[in-house]
Every structure is written in structure tokens, then in C-alpha cells.
């Protein structure tokens, strides 16, 4: 299976998830509620099927190019949304995450990869999969926390109670931040094996570190309970911009043209 087969699977996923979203607010124990679960699962299964068979036909882990990481992001963030929905009954969060997942998956439709089996020697390491997976899981949680941040700002300006949303943002930032830390440190340990030094201020490293600092700022700001939640919400929302520069923007920055992390052709 190649990216040429992708539109079929994307269509399946989109249709089923949109159907599930239509049924989003149906009450529990109704037929529609069951139907919604089925739609969610079928949509999810379609994109998982594509991902796995892409992996098999590439004969290498699909973690190299931007389109491949976007694919995983779609898979992870929708999974998180579905789990949170059934665990804590968060329909709005489900809607958000499915929307984000579809957005990223749709970007891949507009901009698919060419089918490329090659993996340069530097990437052939046992570190490759854990390094990228913890980053993408981290991105998914942190992206999610920033969505909560934006939603919190909306509630704040509407003068609604945001205490619950703040607690949720805090906990999700902690999880995402832990994964981001793993990503950075795994990267450092791998870099020592591959390039001889654990930290070289490669532009991607610099921006990953900046992302880490931005969320670190949020965590510390939240330690003082009486501080303005508005500032905290702005920090967590803007931190996502840094994250996106680290992930995509790096390819366009003049300061990053020599990065060893720009692998897509």
C-alpha cells in the first residue's frame, strides 16, 4: 500500500468520524450511542489499517518524513480524544481531537509523500522508533493542552468558571511535558551514538528545547495558585506555536537550513 491508496482510507475515516460527530450529544444507552461508538471505531480502524500496511510495504518504520509524522499525530491525538471521551465524558474534547486529527490527515492528502523506502544510515538505530514515538505522543498531549488553553480563554472572556478546565490543562501538560522530556533525552543519548555528542544545538534540538522551556514556564507559572489564569492560558496556547515551529516551521527558517533533522525531500 502506498500514499496513492491514501485518499480511500482518508475518505472512510472522515465519513465515519463526521457521522460520529453528528451523533456526539446523543444520550447514553440509546441506539445512537452504540452507533456512535461503531462509527468512531471504524474510522479509527481505517486509518490504523492504512498506517500499518504503509509500514509493511515501506519495509521501514514510517517515522521519517513530515507526512509520516502527521499521519501518526492524527492516529495518536484521535486515540487520546476517544479514550478521554469514554473515560471522563468529554464530548467537546472528542470533537476537538477528531477535528485536529482530520486536519492533519487532510494536510497529508494535499501534500503526500513520495513512496520512499530508503532510510539513511544515521536513522538506522534502535533509538529511532522510541525517539519519534515519545515526541509524537508528547506533541499530541501538548497540542491537546493548548486546545484546552484556547477553550479556557474563550470561557474566561465569557466570564465562565474555568477551574476545572485549568486542572485538566495542568494534568495534560504534565503528561505531555514528561514525554517531551523523554524525547529530548532519548535524542541526546542517540546523538551521542550517532554523531559523537549528545547536544550540538542543531536547529531542531534548539526548537525542541524551546518548546520544552515554553511548557516549563507554564508549569512554573501555575505553581502560584492566585495568579491570573488568563496569563497561564495565554502561555499554554502560545507554547503550541513554538511546538509547531519545531515540528514544521523549522523547514522554512533561514537559521535551520543546515539542520541534520531535515529528512524529507
Amino acid at each position: 500500500m502506498t500514499w496513492l491508496d491514501y485518499p480511500t482510507y482518508l475518505l472512510l475515516t472522515s465519513v465515519f468520524w463526521l457521522l460520529a460527530l453528528v451523533l456526539l450529544l446523543t444520550p447514553k444507552k440509546s441506539v445512537f450511542h452504540t452507533l456512535k461508538a461503531v462509527f468512531l471505531f471504524v474510522g479509527w480502524a481505517a486509518i490504523i489499517t492504512f498506517t500499518i500496511s504503509l509500514w509493511i510495504s515501506l519495509e521501514r518504520p514510517p517515522f521519517r518524513t513530515l507526512a509520516e509524522t502527521r499521519l501518526w499525530y492524527g492516529v495518536f491525538i484521535s486515540s487520546i480524544g476517544i479514550v478521554l471521551y469514554y473515560r471522563w465524558n468529554q464530548p467537546l474534547m472528542l470533537a476537538y481531537t477528531l477535528f485536529m486529527a482530520l486536519l492533519f490527515l487532510f494536510l497529508n492528502y494535499l501534500n503526500p509523500d513520495t513512496f520512499d523506502k530508503t532510510l539513511m544510515p544515521a536513522l538506522q538505530s534502535p533509538w529511532f522508533i522510541p525517539h519519534v514515538v515519545v515526541y509524537i505522543v508528547g506533541y499530541a498531549f501538548l497540542g491537546f493542552s493548548s486546545l484546552i488553553g484556547v477553550y479556557g480563554l474563550y470561557l474566561y472572556y465569557k466570564e465562565k468558571n474555568i477551574e476545572r478546565i485549568m486542572l485538566m490543562a495542568d494534568n495534560i501538560v504534565y503528561i505531555g511535558f514528561a514525554f517531551l522530556t523523554f524525547g529530548l533525552l532519548f535524542g541526546a543519548l542517540w546523538a551521542k551514538e550517532a554523531w559523537g555528542h549528545y547536544w550540538t544545538w542543531d536547529p531542531k534540538e534548539t526548537w525542541a528545547f524551546l518548546t520544552w522551556l515554553a511548557y516549563l514556564l507554564y508549569i512554573h507559572f501555575r505553581l502560584k495558585k492566585k495568579q491570573s489564569p488568563k496569563t497561564a492560558l495565554w502561555i499554554v496556547s502560545l507554547a503550541f506555536v513554538v511546538l509547531l515551529i519545531c515540528w514544521f516551521g523549522i523547514n522554512y527558517l533561514p537559521s535551520a537550513q543546515s539542520s541534520v533533522h531535515v529528512y524529507s525531500s
Partner: protein, 419 residues
């Protein structure tokens, strides 16, 4: 950054204890300003001290922290371990790293520009960066000391993360002057005793290295459609190239390509290619191209070419030709002999991602002669020695475990409505 709101703070004067955000940011601002001024006046950036000065600095740092804990009630010490100071320090440091992230590093122009003189094209060795890092390390240090005084099992994650970070930053920056990174260019059967650093200074290593064999494992060749007009590859979005394998047929666009023959080492004789045992052979394939509607439309040789053998394209029509892609290495490796003395030697094998520790050095495979490709008889290796590495690793693993704890516990203050 926002000022904090509580009313009594609003009326208090600057520098009146307890210090808060205003004081923290004002101090940060002056630290940066001082840093930029020193950079402008002295120029040339900061040189990290080597052993034993660096260990002395670290010890002074630690002794200072240990002694100061008696003064934990002093308002300045209190401030240094406060969240406000931490936020100011993180923000200041973030600003410096942001500059590093946006400004291309390494001065390029002959005439030093203002950003060069301010150290902004060499952020990590500039004075303002050093100032921001010092601010961070001092605040971090005081925070650790304060938390140590009220040690409890709950603090373990806190201490692991904060001490780990302090160790990593201190050991990585103060240890950098003790790190050696040299490269050697090895040729087959020629012992080499000298290595270069990044400034092209040469060093006599006291031992000899000789390349026994250099080996490249390559990905199978691929062919694609090339536009005759500008020699660019015509590649459909999401599409792929055809992998060459003798006896198979692949579809590319509306054309069917059958690979009649494939020669991994070929020489060109007139119009045809044939297997060669000489060095420099190229990869060549005999391809028959058919079009569903009009049958066979072209056949002939396609080759990627090497330094010794010319490349060939196969013209399909006025617009398109078939071309073979350049060789892509799957992995490359070197067999090397190290001579400790004339009689005593040791052989070892290195490849990318698989360095070897030998003679007190970590030896890395970094490159080869790309012009020669798979016929390269040159191997570039790097020799690294970093005595501070174990210390940095201690810090890294402390943070790893601290983060694991964070992941497990979260912020730990989830209140459910029903509870």
C-alpha cells in the same frame, strides 16, 4: 510577562522586600544588558575554562550553596528560591535561546555587523547567554537548597528533576573545554597518525590508524520518468519510483517497464553495457518500455553512471526519458587497524550509529569520499573524548526518572466533582 495582581504589591516600592516579578525581571534585564555590554567591549565571546579551573568553579558553587542554606530566611535568599525568580530566569534564558533559534549561527560577513558584535551569531558562547544561564543556575541552586531543608519522600521527583537539570547544564557547559573532537581521514593501506580539530589544527595521536576496508551497502536502484526539457524528475504526488530488479515488470504512469537485465557493476562498450571487473563500475539496466495502446515504444540501457562510466537515459518520447537515481547508501562501514606500537595492533569495525571505544577514544564513522561513491577508498572517522560524559549521564538519568514520576503522578491534584 504580566505583573501579578495582589493589591498590596501594587503599592509597594520597587526593591522593597519581599521581591516579586518586578524585581526578578528588572534584575534579569540588567544582567542581559551587562552581558551585551561586556560582549560589545571585549568581543570574542566566552571561553569556558578547562580542567582544573572548571572543577574548582563547580566546587565553589556547591560550597556556596551549602553554606548559604543557613541564611535561608534572608529575603534575598528567599527571593532567589521563589517561583517568581524561577519564572524570570526561565523567561530570560528562553529569550536567549529564541535568538539562537531565529538567527543563523556563525558570523558570515567579513565586516562584523552589529549582531556579530553583540554575540548574536554565536549565542552559546556569548556573554549575555552566560549571564542568563548563570541566573538560571543560581535560582535553580537556591531552589534545590530550600527544598532539601524540607526533605520528604514526596520531594524525590522534584529533587531528581531539578538537581538532574543543574548537573546536566553545569557539566555540559563547564565540561565543554575538556572535550576533544578530532577527525581523521583514512585511506586504504596507509597508516595515519595525525588528526584535525574543527579549526584544522593538527595533532599527533601517538598511535596509527589504517583503513583495511571500506564497505557500502546500497539500496536497490530505482528508475523514474525525467523531463527532457530540464532533466528534472517527473514524480506524481504520493507516487513512487520503479525499483529495478531483473526479470520483473513495473508500472510507471501509463508505461509498463520490464527489466530484462540488470548489471550491478557495468562498463559501457560502445552503445551497450556489460559486466566489468574493473573498479568504477556503474549500475545499468536493460529496460523495455511498453505503452498499453501502442505496444513497445522504446528499449535500451539506463545507467546511473560513476566517476569512470557515463550515465545513460532512455528516451521514451519528445517529452520524457527514463533515468536511474543516484546510489543511496543503506549503511557504510570501515574495518580499521589501530597500531599501538609497531608490533602491537588491534582490528575493529565501525559503522554509523555503532561507534567503538578504543585507546581511550570513542571512534565514529562519519563519512567517505562521496564523489567516488561505492568505490571510495577513503573513510572519515571522528575521535571523541569527553571526560564529563558520565556526569552528564547521571543528570540525564535523574531527569528521566523524575519525569517518569511526573508522568505517573501528574500534577496530582485532580478534584472530581463528586469526590
Amino acid at each position: 510577562m504580566s505583573q501579578n495582581k495582589p493589591e498590596k504589591r501594587k503599592k509597594s516600592k520597587l526593591w522593597q522586600f519581599p521581591w516579586g516579578y518586578r524585581e526578578s525581571f528588572v534584575i534579569a534585564f540588567f544582567l542581559l544588558l551587562t552581558g551585551f555590554l561586556i560582549e560589545l567591549l571585549l568581543g570574542g565571546g566566552v571561553r569556558m575554562p578547562a580542567w582544573p579551573v572548571n572543577i574548582a568553579i563547580i566546587l565553589i558553587f556547591i560550597i556556596y550553596f551549602v553554606l548559604i542554606h543557613r541564611m535561608i530566611k534572608h529575603p534575598i535568599v528567599k527571593w532567589l528560591s521563589s517561583t517568581q525568580a524561577a519564572i524570570a530566569a526561565i523567561t530570560t534564558f528562553t529569550v536567549m535561546v529564541l535568538l539562537l533559534g531565529f538567527i543563523p549561527q556563525g558570523a558570515t560577513s567579513q565586516e562584523p555587523r552589529l549582531i556579530d558584535s553583540l554575540g548574536l551569531t554565536n549565542v552559546t558562547s556569548s556573554w549575555p547567554y552566560l549571564m542568563s544561564a548563570l541566573y538560571l543556575l543560581i535560582v535553580l541552586g537556591f531552589t534545590i537548597v530550600r527544598r532539601f531543608r524540607s526533605f520528604s519522600i514526596k520531594n524525590i521527583a522534584f529533587l531528581l528533576n531539578h538537581i538532574g537539570l543543574w548537573i546536566v547544564v553545569v557539566a555540559a557547559s563547564l565540561g565543554s573545554a575538556d572535550m576533544w573532537k578530532l577527525s581523521m581521514q583514512l585511506e586504504v593501506n596507509h597508516p595515519v597518525m595525525t588528526a584535525f580539530d574543527s579549526h584544522r589544527n593538527t595533532y599527533n595521536m601517538g598511535f596509527g590508524m589504517m583503513l583495511l576496508d571500506f564497505d557500502i551497502e546500497e539500496y536497490p536502484p530505482e528508475v523514474g520518468l525525467m523531463r527532457n526539457a530540464d532533466y528534472t524528475l517527473k514524480l506524481e504526488k504520493g507516487g513512487k519510483l520503479a525499483t529495478v530488479e531483473e526479470g520483473t515488470t513495473e508500472i510507471l504512469d501509463k508505461y509498463s517497464l520490464s527489466f530484462e537485465r540488470y548489471l550491478p557493476y557495468a562498463q559501457k562498450y560502445g552503445d551497450i553495457y556489460d559486466t566489468t571487473s574493473h573498479r568504477g563500475g556503474a549500475r545499468a539496466a536493460y529496460i523495455v518500455v511498453t505503452d498499453e495502446s501502442s505496444g513497445i515504444i522504446a528499449e535500451g540501457w539506463v545507467a546511473d553512471g560513476s566517476y569512470a562510466v557515463p550515465a545513460s537515459y532512455l528516451m521514451i518520447n519528445d517529452e520524457l526519458s527514463l533515468a536511474m537515481t543516484q546510489l543511496r547508501p543503506k549503511k557504510y562501514s570501515s574495518d580499521i587497524r589501530i597500531y599501538h606500537s609497531m608490533e602491537e595492533y588491534e582490528d575493529f569495525h565501525i559503522e554509523v550509529n555503532k561507534p567503538v571505544s578504543i585507546g581511550g577514544w570513542m571512534v565514529y564513522q562519519v563519512g567517505y569520499d562521496e564523489q567516488m561513491g561505492r568505490w571510495s577508498e577513503t573513510s572519515v572517522i571522528e575521535l571523541v573524548r569527553d571526560p564529563w560524559l558520565p556526569v552528564v549521564y547521571v543528570g540525564i538519568f535523574m531527569i528521566l526518572f523524575g519525569s517518569l514520576y511526573l508522568l505517573w503522578m501528574g500534577k496530582g491534584r485532580i478534584k472530581t466533582k463528586k469526590a
